[in-house]
């Protein structure tokens, strides 16, 4: 068996952009109950479990990239199920390798053969890696997983009303041109859907190194009647906030270049109507 090294990202260069407007070519569940979470989180869905209430995904990282945030969050909230959503296929591929779950990988193997020309070599390589990682990190990272999807279109297909406690939008594509603003992952209209899948009191975290996008995301959240800014004090106390810039690959890059980041952290509040 080869030595236990993580697959290296530079071999899996992802495209920087993917068009969220185009029709999708990956399978999409019809409704949340159709998503089989037992293969995403086999540890939390033991086969002989009583038909008790099933655990639900509570955190979602939208546009999770290479999954740095999930990997950092996982030990902080070991009992919380988290999912990363990524549209770009190559980033998703690497994520699968990182997901450390052999069963998950095997379930997906056939599905992503279509993406990889050298699927067979990759499969062999990843099998070795995952076995190595499992040996070195027993019992860890059982609560994280990823799906390849377009979260701008299919969020309600994955989550029920009020299911999520935290949503992350970390260093999203800025889409500078005005005609492409509708491709931005945070917009007043999309916030309707994010508000729907979030529990009242849940928190939405956004961060970017592009000031213009930072202002945009903040103004969208500010305008939206179902979101309210989280207070300074609370932000300071929140252990997750530090991770926004330190845990993600993009954040580390910004820190290396001593760039600025712009955060907007908002809470889902109940409707004021009636």
């Amino acid at each position: 068996m080869s030595s236990a090294r993580l697959p290296r990202k530079r071999f899996y260069r992802a495209r920087a952009h993917s068009n969220p407007l185009s029709d999708s070519h990956f399978p999409v569940p019809n409704c949340p109950s159709e998503v089989d979470y037992s293969f995403h989180y086999p540890y939390f869905f033991p086969k002989d479990a009583p038909p008790a209430p099933k655990p639900k995904v509570r955190f979602a990282d939208v546009g999770c990239g290479f999954g740095g945030m999930l990997v950092s969050l996982s030990p902080l909230f070991p009992d919380t199920l988290m999912i990363g959503m990524e549209l770009r296929d190559k980033a998703f591929l690497l994520l699968l390798f990182l997901s450390l779950s052999l069963s998950l990988f095997i379930n997906y193997a056939e599905y992503f053969i279509s993406f990889t020309r050298s699927a067979h070599q990759v499969t062999e390589y990843v099998k070795d890696r995952i076995q190595g990682l499992r040996a070195t990190n027993p019992g860890q990272y059982n609560n994280i997983s990823v799906v390849r999807t377009n979260s701008m279109k299919y969020i309600p297909n994955y989550f029920e009303k009020g299911q999520l406690l935290k949503m992350f939008f970390l260093f999203p594509d800025p889409h500078f041109k005005e005609k492409n603003h509708r491709r931005r992952v945070v917009s007043v209209q999309l916030l309707d859907e994010y508000a729907y899948v979030m529990e009242v009191g849940g928190i939405i975290y956004t961060v970017t190194d592009v000031e213009e996008l930072g202002d945009w995301m903040k103004s969208c959240l500010e305008k939206h009647p179902l979101f309210e800014a989280v207070g300074e004090e609370e932000i300071k106390k929140d252990p997750v906030v530090k991770l926004l810039t330190s845990a993600t690959e993009e954040g580390q890059k910004v820190a290396r270049n001593e760039g600025q980041t712009f955060m907007a952290i908002y809470r889902r509040v109940a409707s004021k109507e009636d």
């Binding site: 019809n30 299919y154 309707d192 859907e193 109507e273």
Partner: protein
Amino acid sequence: MEESLVEESESGNACTDEAAPALIAVHPTESSVVVAVGSELRVFDLKEDCAVSPVDDLGGPHHSASIRAISFSFDGELFVSAGDDKIVKIWKTGSWNCIHTIQSEKRVSAVSISQDSGYVTFADKFGVVWIMSLKEDRDTKAVPILGHYCSIITSMKFSPDGRFIATADRDHKIRITVFPRNALKGAHEIQSFCLGHTDFVSCLTFVCTQDQSKGFLLSGGGDLTVRLWDYSNGTLLYTCALGNEAGILEASEIEENNKTAVTDICASSNGSLIAVAVQSYNGVMLLSCDFSARTLSCVKKVPMEKSYIPTSLALVSSKEHLWTVMGASNLSSSDLSNNKEQLLTRVRIVSFIQKDFSDACSRDPVLLEDSQVPGGEKLLMQLQGSLDAATQEAAFAAAAAAVRTSLQNMMIKKQYSVERRELRKRNRNDKKIKS
């Protein structure tokens, strides 16, 4: 075969090839009936027993391309029409005078008037729903209130209590949004998503129990099912599959083309009578809803002549007529007589002997002959454009095929091979301009 379909639609000019289905709408008290075909609005006043031509004294533009959506307001005072020419026209039904013309940025796929007639909403091809107040001055502008992200909205209806707005899209989704008191600020609170259709959703209609204590939603779609929803929480209560259930559609009626969709659905408000039009069935299917058991069942099929496949249905709860129309924007009677180019449609009416629809079993639907229709020849002349429309079988068969192809092209996601997709990426418009 799928590939060839893609090739075809790419080579031809999509805009000119599209055949828009003819639509029909009936005033809530059945005092008038409207057929929209192509860019024409054909109105017949049943009370006065005469044809009416809508006029625009304000000098706004008339419809110049296919009308895609029409609707009466709940009280029948107003009527709205919109379509591919990107304009939304609101008419007063007393005088059939246009009171507003709204310019949309994109083609319009669905329109509706709020329950209190205070607002008009229209959905554009980008999946954005716009609203304009009808209470205030003339110069108010339409503002966006909600969006289905980049998905064509196929149907938009207000709940009878006015509290919700339901929008259906081609991505299998139905969104139920709370309609706020100040709607101009946007409708941000989603009540539920009704998810379960496995293909595009084509039509919606609300029904409620006799005492109006509990409302339900009915939807039809490209998966050839009619579904019953509790829209307050998005629960799918019942799925009535029209295809495989023996006795509803015969095998011979669906197999000629494996892809067939529910095109329209309309219901009496108490749900005892639900009429469904299906792309491959020459007639209408009548379903009935049992609210206590929360089921749908097929009561009867009303077959019509061989090539008559209704493209739109209309029903008024208090009256005994089910109105159906068939036609397409590219169907003209050029071979009839060479006078002016006239778009051809065919109107058929099903009559129910019993005035109330409460007793589903003993109801007896009768397909009215042309001589029996209310309004008689005058009505048929106005709505159909010709009296001998019934003889144009070949033309109607062609129209049915055109409407079906056009719907499929619009709704079905094109599946390309990997190579083709790469080729398309290389030939994208924005890249062409650069080189």
